[in-house]
Symmetry: C2
Subunit: 207 residues, 2 copies
């Protein structure tokens, strides 16, 4: 493809290709949520996207590639939020806003997909590596942000304290159809506030 | 079976049947952890248990029945722990002990199985109902226990605050091979202590 792009005009303009990719990813998200990652075939995906299987394979050569595409899209969306934070003067206010927005706007479908991918990650090394890479990026970013906001705080301990809460919030969002994320989000922000002010309980070794 | 049990001697003594059931459940746990709930067939299960498929079906008539059996066994094990608490004078100490024991002794396999069942629960109504029933039992028990230990506390708010943390702990246990649950368990116990002493942050409405 790279050589073709240089020597000949592409069959579709790039923006149309990007739109087609986005359309396939939307269809994949719908299939995975409805039937689970494992049960979904490339044929199901083609039907959902109203495209021929051959056409789907021009964009993604496997179901794993589709999942990697979804993860990449998630990462790009996250990068937009992070850029907002970097530009803002009030980093702490923006951090709170980002966390609250991310968890309150997460759809049930997105949470179910995440749950499936976690299960899949324990058995499929490609998915496992993808999840681990995403988790590590989020971890590094949060630890750096915590340190930048409250230079003296135990940023690593604080991250360890809030990480299970964030994962559990996604599980609750997936399992409970009319889940109200409000209390857990307030809990998360209160825990971060406490961590900025002093040692987090999890960081203290039991007596 | 019930009529047969009354009119004729059972083929096997009850204790042997119970042992056989337990053996099948152990085999099922191993299969589900290795290949996932959805990918495991009753044939896989028979092979793992070194029994004929026909013999397996004498104990469980479907894969869903096996899962229900696993959930029932979990519930019985939990009941033993609860009984300890009920008999003990120091309810608070025993509560801490139960939570610490439950989460630190949970195997990675058990956590992976739970993760799979959560995903399955979003699409399979029988599994969904089973998970919801188990969650509701745990919820009622923890709320009652919180109230008994600290009569003035906001037991419901406290439960809402700790529930995502407990779910997230299971996700971390499943995803991270050498996961150290210690910090998250200390975090959980510290949060409960704080809830006994005053309002939990999650219960306060944001200003």
């Amino acid at each position: 493809m790279s050589l073709g792009a240089v020597t000949a005009a592409p069959i579709e303009p790039t923006s149309a290709q990007a739109a087609r990719r986005a359309h396939i990813l939307d269809a994949a998200e719908a299939c995975f949520v409805r039937n689970g990652f494992h049960r979904t075939t490339m044929q199901d995906l083609a039907r959902e996207a109203a495209m021929s299987p051959g056409n789907i394979y021009r964009y993604f050569d496997s179901k794993e590639a589709v999942v990697l595409g979804l993860a990449e899209r998630d990462r790009e969306r996250g990068a937009v939020l992070v850029e907002m934070l970097e530009r803002a003067g009030d980093r702490r206010g923006v951090l709170n806003g980002i966390l609250a927005t991310y968890f309150s706007e997460m759809t049930r479908g997105a949470a179910i997909l995440r749950l499936d991918l976690w299960g899949e990650a324990t058995r499929n090394p490609a998915i496992g590596a993808m999840i681990a890479r995403g988790d590590e990026e989020g971890r590094m970013w949060l630890i750096e942000t915590f340190s930048a906001i409250a230079p003296g705080c135990d940023a690593v301990g604080l991250f360890e304290a809030v990480a299970p809460l964030m994962k559990g919030l996604i599980v609750s969002r997936a399992l409970i159809p009319d889940y109200d994320a409000g209390p857990a989000i307030r809990q998360l922000l209160a825990l971060i506030d406490a961590g900025f002010a002093g040692p987090v309980p999890a960081a203290e070794k039991a007596a």
